[in-house]
């Protein structure tokens, strides 16, 4: 008796947890393959006709292929900002971890502020306007770099602590210049945390809604999340297309998650542990 009860309780709570976390995704998928009239009922009935492909085409073609443009823009922003992020934050984390200087305290406070404080949006818009980067992809990329530097630096710094300093010494004796020590000896050894950084930050930046909303308004600059937000008001009567759009937005992180599960988990928990 005493052995079966925990099993039953555990089983039930598991089933409940599974349902709670799976049902919404099932719901998304179901509406996305229905016809317009069926989807408007918003229930769990299976569709009479599976319109996966038709709905997909309809969403892609909507507003003159706006979704394709959005994917292109979001991808561009993500790739560029993550590339810059990785290089710059690795450099900062490296020197912060390796060298004692009075700038370390400054850098540490800056990282902490960056992790905690929200950006001052309107002054940032003012500043971007004055340097001609408002509503530009370049501006957006640099903003993403600025806002996500702290987290990436934190990840790198703690990982660099595990790289033996003797390697730096050996490279120094071998005649390596400081930048050669970093790029030829240390950086290749950071691969695991670099992968983590790339994956976690890509998802964060790809999913970012707030910053493009403020800094990248305008039709020609739409991002995936903004498109989805705009479709919400446009498709109040076409739930099938709205949910097809949600489905499409959900797929990239799903794919990344399938391939990089381990690195994501490592990054999320490492970032959580205070540096």
């Amino acid at each position: 008796m005493r052995r079966t009860r925990p099993v039953v309780v555990g089983g039930i709570s598991l089933a409940v947890a599974a349902i709670i976390f799976i049902v919404p995704f099932f719901f998304i998928f179901l509406q996305a393959v229905k016809s317009r009239s069926e989807a408007s009922r918003l229930n769990f009935d299976l569709p009479k006709e599976w319109l996966l492909w038709d709905n997909f085409l309809a969403v892609v073609e909507a507003r003159n292929y706006q979704l394709l443009l959005a994917y292109f823009n979001s991808t561009l922003i993500t790739v560029f900002s993550v590339t810059i992020l990785v290089v710059l934050s690795a450099m900062v984390g490296y020197v912060m971890q390796r060298r004692r200087s009075r700038w370390n305290g400054v850098a540490q406070v800056a990282v902490l502020i960056g992790l905690m404080m929200p950006p001052a949006v309107v002054p940032t818009i003012g500043l971007l306007q004055s340097i001609g980067l408002f509503k530009t992809m370049t501006g957006m990329v640099l903003i993403q770099v600025a806002y996500n530097l702290s987290f990436s630096t934190l990840l790198y710094r703690s990982f660099i602590g595990t790289i033996p300093r003797d390697l730096d010494g050996a490279a120094l004796i071998d005649g390596a210049k400081p930048w050669q020590i970093f790029f030829r000896v240390v950086m290749p050894l950071l691969k695991p945390v670099t992968v983590t950084n790339i994956v976690v930050q890509s998802i964060a930046i790809f999913n970012d809604f707030t910053n493009p909303l403020y800094y990248l308004p305008g039709k020609e600059n739409v991002t995936v999340q903004l498109t989805l937000y705009n479709f919400q008001s446009m498709y109040t009567s076409q739930y099938n297309l709205l949910f097809m759009n949600i489905l499409l937005v959900t797929i990239p992180p799903l794919i990344v998650f399938i391939f990089f599960n381990r690195q994501i988990v490592a990054g999320m928990t490492a970032g959580g542990v205070k540096g």
Binding site: N43, P119, V121
Partner: protein, 292 residues
């Protein structure tokens, strides 16, 4: 023997490695943050800023709907943080015990963390529809008259907070799982020999030893809750009325309305709010850690 001069050898860790990051971060994050204190004291149209003293702040604290936003922010942050901590720990304990399909369940619980907040927001808005939403339809089937989750002003903020819990609890769970994994099984075996029950083990061993993870979860989710914007914006836009407005959505609304000075004052208030809550909390948590 005295050397005339001691040439300083160059460090192999050059400080200019800080420079590119410092420029981007300084110009695009620190400078606006610093200038926001000035702009919050002005009437501002991005071109000219007219100094008006504390007028923006006076307005902020005298308009009931703006004050409401401040209170809502606190409620939302405390509620989401508390719920994520409790449910995160429970799920973590469940998912570290000996279960079938444990790995699958971890995946399922964690995945929403990675999904677009806007997508989640829209999906739950539809599911929470007062008459056609599947939540109320399901409740009706078992004889309960479901509430207007997002249409009832008394309920809207809590409904959004629940969705936030659904989306964010996976991260808390993950951090707790890492914390639990760091506890040596020896303690449990030793306490079993000492005659501790499962409940006693949880209270006397698990809870104190998982404390660092708890601090992390509370800290992260509080900061996230205080800054929260996109989920609320996707689900209610602060409505009905101003019942689910938070400081971040007020900032956006005032920006849209062209009240840049007022919007920036909201930003400064948010800085203050986060500092007032997080700094003492961090100090307290650190002290407790030192004592241990």
């Amino acid at each position: 023997m005295v050397e005339a001069q001691r040439p300083k050898r160059k460090s192999p860790y050059p400080l200019w490695f800080f420079l590119p990051a410092a420029i981007i971060y300084g110009v695009l994050f620190l400078v606006p943050t610093a200038t926001s204190f000035w702009y919050s004291l002005t009437r501002w149209d991005l071109m000219t800023a007219e100094y008006i003293g504390l007028e923006n702040f006076r307005q902020f604290f005298s308009e009931p709907f703006l004050v409401q936003g401040l209170i809502n922010t606190l409620i939302y942050a405390v509620m989401t943080s508390g719920l994520k901590t409790i449910f995160g720990l429970l799920l973590a304990v469940l998912l570290t015990s000996n279960l079938i399909a444990r790995g699958f369940l971890r995946t399922v619980v964690f995945f929403p963390v990675l999904v677009s907040t806007i997508g989640i927001g829209i999906t739950f808005t539809v599911m929470m529809h007062p008459t056609r939403g599947i939540i109320n339809v399901a409740l009706e089937a078992i004889g309960i008259d479901g509430p207007g989750w997002l249409t009832d002003p008394a309920l809207a903020l809590f409904s959004v907070a629940l969705v936030d819990l659904w989306k964010g609890v996976g991260l808390a769970t993950l951090i707790f799982i890492a914390g639990l994994a760091a506890i040596s099984p020896d303690y449990y075996e030793a306490s079993r020999i000492d005659g501790a029950t499962r409940m006693q083990q949880f209270r006397r061993i698990t809870l104190p030893l998982v404390w660092p993870a708890t601090v992390t979860v509370i800290t992260l989710s509080l900061i996230g809750g205080l800054r929260s914007f996109d989920l609320i914006w996707a689900m209610t836009k602060g409505g009905p009325g101003f019942s689910s407005d938070v400081v971040a959505s007020v900032i956006y609304k005032q920006y849209q309305a062209g009240f840049y000075g007022l919007s920036t004052a909201g930003n400064v208030i948010l800085f203050g709010l986060i500092a007032v809550i997080m700094v003492p909390l961090t100090v307290m948590f650190n002290r407790r850690e030192v004592e241990q």
